[in-house]
């Protein structure tokens, strides 16, 4: 669409800018403020420069949490995106079952995050949970509160349960927008299912899948509530991802300086990676 150039359009954006600035800029400045100061309590602050940033960037604890975070994010992306696409491809396009499927699939997305955590906790408990009990009955030694491997398995399964539907719904939206004529043309050409997927369906889904990857990337990097209810970062520190570690430092130990420095580094990482996805997406849209 060719847009008119008019700076008066700023008047329309002003309420949004005012509200978001109040909510984003003031708290962000508070964080910046803490990140460069040292305090010994009583609201007395000293200039600390970049000490906290150096401390965080060099600390093994931060490196470990970041590595775990990366592992988590890339695992769930590697599972949820292909799985979501596969489910969307096998869903019916028309008929009475479509709304039923969509409503049931969207259900996990609307459950409060702490309930998701609590639900999976109850579901996976080795003695009274359906999943835990079944796994143990099948001969696996499963206990997600004791064994790190099991905790990771449960965490990833929970996230797959929680968010694959988002990918499904996005991919499905891309698929239903393909006109029937495309499929008919492919049939006449004698295209195999894989060729249809590769040359018709995948290109049509590209745009929505970029949104899916962007949203899943951002949200999985921020995961806090479900995780804190399910494992609380344990056993030990084995599932302590960035946000869990941050809350431990900020609210648990009340080390405001390092917590603030870590917040900013954390935010910048998400920002930088999201910028890459966003640029890719906008480039797709302009094509």
């Amino acid at each position: 669409m060719n847009k008119t150039h008019d700076n008066k359009a700023w008047l329309f954006v002003l309420p949004v800018v005012a509200l978001v600035a109040f909510n984003a800029v003031i708290p962000l400045m508070t964080v910046v403020n803490y990140s460069v100061q040292e305090t010994f309590g009583d609201n007395v602050f000293f200039w600390a420069g970049v000490t906290w940033f150096e401390q965080v960037l060099q600390s093994e604890r931060f490196h470990d949490a970041l590595l775990r975070q990366m592992f988590f994010t890339f695992s769930i992306l590697a599972i949820e995106v292909p799985l979501g696409v596969a489910i969307a491809l096998t869903m019916p396009r028309k008929g009475p079952w479509v709304p039923v499927c969509l409503v049931l699939m969207a259900l996990p997305l609307l459950i409060p995050w702490n309930v998701v955590g609590a639900m999976w906790n109850i579901f996976a408990l080795p003695d009274i949970g359906l999943l835990g009990r079944s796994l143990n009955a099948l001969g696996f030694d499963y206990n997600f509160t004791r064994q790190p491997g099991d905790a990771w398995f449960t965490l990833i399964l929970m996230d797959v349960w929680h968010w694959t539907s988002l990918v499904v719904l996005l991919a499905y939206a891309g698929l239903v927008s393909i006109p029937d004529a495309y499929y008919q043309a492919a049939k006449i050409d004698g295209a195999r299912p894989f060729a249809i997927f590769r040359y018709i369906q995948l290109p049509k889904m590209k745009r929505v899948l970029t949104i899916a990857v962007l949203l899943r990337f951002m949200d999985s990097f921020m995961i806090y509530t479900e995780l804190s209810v399910l494992t609380g970062g344990g056993p030990g520190n084995s599932t302590t991802l960035l946000s869990i570690d941050l809350v431990k430092i900020a609210l648990g130990q009340f080390d405001l300086g390092p917590a603030a420095a870590m917040s900013l580094i954390y935010f910048l990482i998400i920002l930088a990676l999201s910028w890459v996805f966003y640029t890719l997406m906008m480039r797709n849209e302009q094509q």
Binding site: M1, T4, H5, D6, N7, A9, V13, P15, V16, V17, L19, V20, N23, A24, P27, L28, T30, V31, T90, V103, L104, M105, L107, L109, L110, I111, P112, W113, N114, V115, A118, M119, W120, I122, F123, I128, L130, R133, S165, L169, A173, G174, I196, V208, I211, M218, M222, Y224, T225, L242, S243, L246, A250, L251, I270, L271, S274, W275, Y278, E285
Partner: protein, 267 residues
Amino acid sequence: MMTRPSRYVPVLYILFLLLPIYWLVNMSFKTTNEILGSFTLFPREITLENYITIFTDPTWYMGYVNSLTYVLINTVISVLVALPAAYAFSRYRFLGDKHLFFWLLTNRMAPPAVFALPFFQLYSAVGLFDTPIAVALAHTLFNIPLAVWILEGFMSGVPKELDETAYVDGHSFWSFFLKIFVPTIAAGIGVAAFFCFMFSWVELLLAKTLTSVAAKPIAAVMTRTASTSGYELGLLAAAGTLTIIPGAFVIYFVRNYIAKGFALGRV
């Protein structure tokens, strides 16, 4: 092109989605003795005690009222301010538009864990701490960018000729915007409202940080009960089951727009 066995993939997936929910609902109808004492696939003696506790104890049911209050305030504020902004982004080019759009999106990327403490201080300073308005405003941080993004997608799908024809017919801007444009993108507004509802309803960290007693959301009531009174799993399960209902209700209303809506209007 569809092979037979692949038909069962969505069915299996939905079964996988429903299993944990079934377990939660199952637990909510059991007595504490049955939960801890035995392993049963369905409740042996169905009890409504957990639900009765929730509906008769004000700390419990007020949790739902508080949550719904801030979710609704948030949805109304987010959609109202996002409408003109999305219109500006979809129709005009102006100084710094692209940067502004990305800056808005960056707020969708801000981890709530980063903002919890500063938000507490900010809303205490302006005297809004422990009110639904504080939570509603705090949630606009991520809901406004999302609403702008969704609405912009839907608005860009409406040809500009519509605007021009309306002006030729003698409509003023506001008369066109409210009487013609808003009804045209009603589906987009519905979807944006759905998303605002969804993300405000499911968020806990900020909602919990910004309230203490008067405006405590249901999610916070649940976590506190779980930690103070030990192992009341049945009660917790009943409270969890009840939190699924508003979501299911809202999905039902937007079921026909869900697919397009999740693509943020950009298909």
